[in-house]
Structures are given as structure tokens and as C-alpha cells.
């Protein structure tokens, strides 16, 4: 790891004043489970780390039935997992955190870090850049080692998949992300937080280099049945191959409206409006759930090695719907 300077501010104003205008020069440190690995591999070479863990106002979980849930950016995955209100009202979030099958990662990793972690794409992690292009700017991924890459939103130049565990559930639940920067606070929808970069120097989210995530706000679930289902290669620590989160508003046995969001299949968390439209007015059954999975993946296009992910994603949608309908945690 290259040498850097370290600062540990105690307020969010201090934290953003310590950040810079340029990506890469200064990085935000929270749980460290991603950033320090990137630095050891020289993929990240910051000159300064701004450790935000002492900014107390970024901590804490608050839930009230009328206003919903507020997660401080520093809430750890383990704190999220252990929270009884989240388990009851937002099982999609608890199930997503439970999918991070390493207690060590859950104890250190934060919800803000889950959103801001960099892609797990091995080209990126190997120092070939976010878009992994050769000297002539041709993408290496489409005909390369792409078995874990995107099956949706993969017409280029980005082929990696968004690595966030929580994002699909947050988008399905209608959450918003609060951001703080030199000009004060701003708020964006969880779906708008993620963007597909067009150049290697860009990031996968709308944060500016001198902004930090402060809170995640989730509106009241108001009885919406919600769930996350992940398909992983291993039961132990691994990132999913495909995941889906759903939130179903019910009217009796019928679905009145649905949100379906896929994870780990595209450079951004991928909403599936076709499946949402299909589910509206239906009564949940295994067949309906399966058909919803098929319609969610209708636009999918495999790269040379990842056709199998299309089937996994269909199954993730199907099982997330069935899990939500059963209300099983």
C-alpha cells in the first residue's frame, strides 16, 4: 500500500472540507473492507484518507411507523441485520444483509459503503480500468472472461455489475439517499443514485468527489410484502451471481402494484417494469412468479460466457416474489 495521510473528522462539515474536487486523490474510509483492498492492489492510490467513523451523526437506526426508516451511513450490516423493526417491516433489507455471509464483513462494512463499494469486476480489480479497454479503446469484456459480468444494460462501454447488496431492496422500497457536500445536503432517489459511467475516470454513482452519503431514508412499508433473493455460487462469503428484490402492495390476495429490481446483472441495479406491469392485478402463484421472472429478463443479452446468469436471474425474481408473498424472513 502506498503512503497516505489520514484524517479523522468528527462532523460532516469537516469531512467534506477534507475531501477534494478530483476523484482518486482523496478517498472516504468507513468499514475499509473494500477500499483498503483496492489500495493494496494499487487500483486506488489516494494521498489522503478521510475516516468518517467518528462522525457520530452518521450513525444510528431510527424507525417509526409513520415516517419509516432512517439508516445512518455508518450503520453496519450486522446492526441492520439485528434490528427487529427492519426484520419485521423491511425483510428485503434484512435478507440482503444476511446474504453477506461473513460476520467479519458485516461487523465492519457499513450501509453507505455497501452503496459506494467499487465493482467486483476482475478486469477493474486487476488495474485495467473500470471499462476494461485495450490500447485502441476496444472493450475486453464482451469476448473475454465475462462469466460474472452484465446480462442487462451491457451494450457498453460498461460491462461490470453493480455490487451493492442493499441497492435492489432500497429501490424496490422507494428509498432515497441523503448526500452532504460543500453546498449542504441534497437527496436523490435510490434508483437515481447509481449511474453507468461512460469513461474510466467516472464513478458508478452520482456523488461528487467532495460529497458523502449521510443517510438512507426508507418510506413506511405500509404493509407492502417485500423480499430479496440472491443466487450465489457458494454459501460462504461471496457476491451474488444474480439477485432480485420485490415489494408487493396487496389488496386481499391480489397484487395491486409491484416493484421488481434486479441486482448483479447490470452496471446499475436494474428495475424490471415489464415484470411489475405483469404482476399488477395478479394473484401470486408459482406460475405467476415464474412468468414474472421471464418477463423481467426478456431484454437480457448474454455475453460470451454468461448465458447461465439469465436463468439464475429469472429464478431470483421468482423466488423473491414467492418469499415476499409468504412473508417468510
Amino acid at each position: 500500500m502506498r503512503a497516505f495521510e489520514y484524517a479523522s473528522p468528527t462532523t460532516k462539515e469537516q469531512a467534506v472540507a477534507l475531501l477534494g474536487e478530483k476523484w482518486g486523490e482523496i478517498e472516504v474510509l468507513a468499514g475499509g473492507t473494500d477500499l483498503l483492498s483496492l489500495m493494496k492492489d494499487d487500483v486506488a492510490q489516494p494521498k489522503r484518507l478521510v475516516d468518517i467513523k467518528e462522525v457520530k451523526e452518521l450513525q444510528g437506526i431510527k424507525y417509526a411507523p409513520a415516517t419509516g426508516l432512517r439508516l445512518g451511513a455508518l450503520v453496519t450490516m450486522q446492526e441492520l441485520l439485528e434490528n427487529p423493526a427492519i426484520k419485521k417491516e423491511y425483510p428485503a433489507l434484512a435478507q440482503a444483509a444476511d446474504g453477506i455471509t461473513s460476520p467479519q464483513i458485516r461487523n465492519a462494512g457499513t450501509v453507505g459503503g455497501d452503496l459506494c463499494q467499487r465493482p467486483r469486476c476482475w478486469y477493474f480489480r486487476d488495474g485495467m480500468g473500470l471499462l476494461a479497454q485495450d490500447a485502441k479503446g476496444r472493450p475486453l469484456v464482451p469476448e473475454g472472461e465475462n462469466r460474472y459480468h452484465a446480462i442487462l444494460g451491457n451494450s457498453g462501454p460498461a460491462y461490470f455489475v453493480n455490487p451493492s447488496s442493499l441497492a435492489p431492496a432500497l429501490i424496490a422500497l422507494g428509498a432515497s439517499i441523503r448526500i452532504f457536500g460543500p453546498k449542504g445536503p441534497r437527496e436523490v432517489g435510490a434508483g437515481e443514485f447509481f449511474v453507468t459511467p461512460k469513461t474510466n475516470g467516472e464513478r458508478e454513482y452520482v456523488l461528487k468527489p467532495n460529497e458523502i452519503v449521510t443517510d438512507i431514508l426508507v418510506p413506511p412499508a405500509a404493509g407492502a410484502r417485500n423480499a430479496t433473493y440472491e443466487v450465489r455460487q457458494r454459501e460462504a462469503l461471496d457476491w451474488p451471481l444474480a439477485a432480485a428484490a420485490v415489494a408487493l402492495k396487496m389488496s386481499g390476495a391480489r397484487i395491486s402494484s409491484a416493484r421488481v429490481v434486479l441486482g448483479h446483472v447490470a452496471p446499475v441495479p436494474w428495475p424490471a417494469p415489464e415484470a411489475e406491469k405483469f404482476l399488477a392485478g395478479k394473484t401470486v402463484s408459482e406460475q405467476v412468479a415464474q412468468d414474472a421472472g421471464a418477463s423481467a429478463l426478456r431484454g437480457a443479452k448474454a455475453l460470451s460466457q454468461n448465458t447461465y446468469k439469465i436463468q439464475l436471474a429469472k429464478v431470483a425474481v421468482k423466488r423473491a416474489i414467492l418469499r415476499a408473498a409468504q412473508g417468510r424472513v
Binding site: 500500500m1 502506498r2 503512503a3 497516505f4 495521510e5 489520514y6 484524517a7 479523522s8 473528522p9 462532523t11 462539515e13 469537516q14 469531512a15 467534506v16 472540507a17 477534507l18 477534494g20 486523490e25 482523496i26 474510509l29 468499514g31 475499509g32 473492507t33 473494500d34 483498503l36 483492498s37 489500495m39 493494496k40 492492489d41 494521498k47 489522503r48 484518507l49 475516516d51 467513523k53 450486522q78 455471509t101 461473513s102 460476520p103 467479519q104 464483513i105 461487523n107 465492519a108 454459501e235 460462504a236 462469503l237
Partner: protein, 215 residues
């Protein structure tokens, strides 16, 4: 407005001596002083925030109940500080990327990967390494159980596993096999001693029942 013929009253192109001095004084205060890495020193809201490094900084770590003072650069991880500066070589450096668990220590009551925490961040927290389990030469029941159930082969992952087991049993003194598999999901054994480890945890849980044997 008519242009003044008096050169002293004409707007000047450069700076007057007075203006130069006053602005110069202002610049001296606001001049960007750079830090050791060449970045502008923090200003405004962050003016009083201390910047540590990139050179060595004093760090105090509390390991297994003992306080240690050392001088390390901010880039030194807790694992490196433990192993190469304090000679606690129980925690192992294997993947060094927060995925294998060989470096597991308990910090503030929670199991963490020491490879992915900086030594400067670990200050003020109680750190327990595998060395802290076998106080006064007597093995911890988890260690006894690992021997009893042949839960090691090459042994390189073992200290991390033992510490992860300790954290698991602290949280859940009576785990099921499923709880054990999940609770140890952050540790890898390339030799595949998982069967022995499962048995060791079950048997250690029995031994430890009725009174925690915290080191």
C-alpha cells in the same frame, strides 16, 4: 467620468505599494500550505482537523489487555502492526483482502479482519488475538476442542478460525450446526477441515456451558 491627469489619481495597472502589502499579508494567511503528501492543508470547517502522516505517527493499541505504544505510518494495517511491530504472530496474513479470515481478531467484542483495518483506526478499542485465549499457558476450551477433533491440517487458517469460533460462541453459546456454518462463513480452510471444526465448536460449546471461559 473625465480621466484624471494626475498620475497619483489615475487607476493603476499594477498594485500600489500599500495594496501590495495589505494583499500580501492576506495571502500569507490564506496561502495554501500543503501537507506531507502535497495536498492543500485543510481549511474552513476542517482547519482544526489533525492530519496524520504520511510519515510515522504514534499509535497506542490495547492487545489482550496490554497497552502498546508504537510508531507507524497510517498505511500500516492492524494485522501488520500486530505481526511485525508487536510480535503477535497468531493472526495470519493470507489473502490480505478481507476474504479468507486467517487474520481474524476480536475488536470491541466483534470479530473483524485485521488486514482491513488500519492500526490508527484500532486505537482505543480492546483487541483480542489468539494469543490472548491461552492465558498462563493453559489452552482455551476451543483450542482443546480443535486438537481433540483434529480440526487442523496445515494449521495456517486455524488461529483465525479459533478466534472466529470464540466470537461465535460469545454471541451464541449453544449453536446448531447451521449456526456454526453461517457463523464461520467468513473463514476459509483450503485443507477442508470443516467437519472437524464443526465438531470442535459443538464440543467446545458443551465444555464452556455454565460459565463463560473468557480469557
Amino acid at each position: 467620468m473625465a480621466r484624471s491627469r494626475d498620475p497619483d489619481k489615475r487607476p493603476r495597472k499594477g498594485l500600489s505599494r500599500r495594496a501590495f502589502l495589505s494583499r500580501g499579508a492576506g495571502l500569507a494567511i490564506a496561502a495554501p500550505i500543503v501537507t506531507g503528501t502535497g495536498l492543500p492543508a485543510p481549511q474552513g470547517a476542517a482547519a482544526d482537523v489533525k492530519i496524520l502522516g504520511p510519515g510515522k505517527v504514534p499509535v497506542t493499541l490495547r492487545v489482550n489487555g496490554k497497552t502498546h505504544s508504537l510508531n507507524v505510518e497510517p498505511r500500516v494495517t492492524l494485522l501488520e502492526a500486530l505481526r511485525t511491530h508487536l510480535d503477535y504472530t497468531g493472526a495470519k496474513k493470507v489473502c490480505d483482502r478481507a476474504t479468507c479470515g486467517a487474520c481474524t481478531v476480536i475488536m470491541g467484542g466483534k470479530e473483524v479482519y485485521a488486514c482491513s483495518i488500519l492500526a490508527v483506526e484500532a486505537q482505543g478499542k480492546d483487541i483480542l488475538t489468539v494469543e490472548g485465549l491461552s492465558a498462563s499457558g493453559k489452552l482455551h476450551p476451543i483450542q482443546e476442542a480443535f486438537i481433540e477433533h483434529d480440526a487442523t491440517q496445515c494449521g495456517f487458517c486455524t488461529p483465525g478460525f479459533v478466534v472466529a469460533c470464540k466470537a461465535l460462541l460469545d454471541r451464541n453459546p449453544n449453536p446448531t450446526v447451521a449456526d456454526i456454518e453461517k457463523g464461520l462463513g467468513g473463514n476459509l480452510c483450503r485443507c477442508g477441515t470443516y467437519v472437524g471444526i464443526r465438531q470442535a465448536v459443538l464440543s467446545a460449546a458443551k465444555t464452556m456451558k455454565g460459565g463463560r471461559t473468557d480469557a
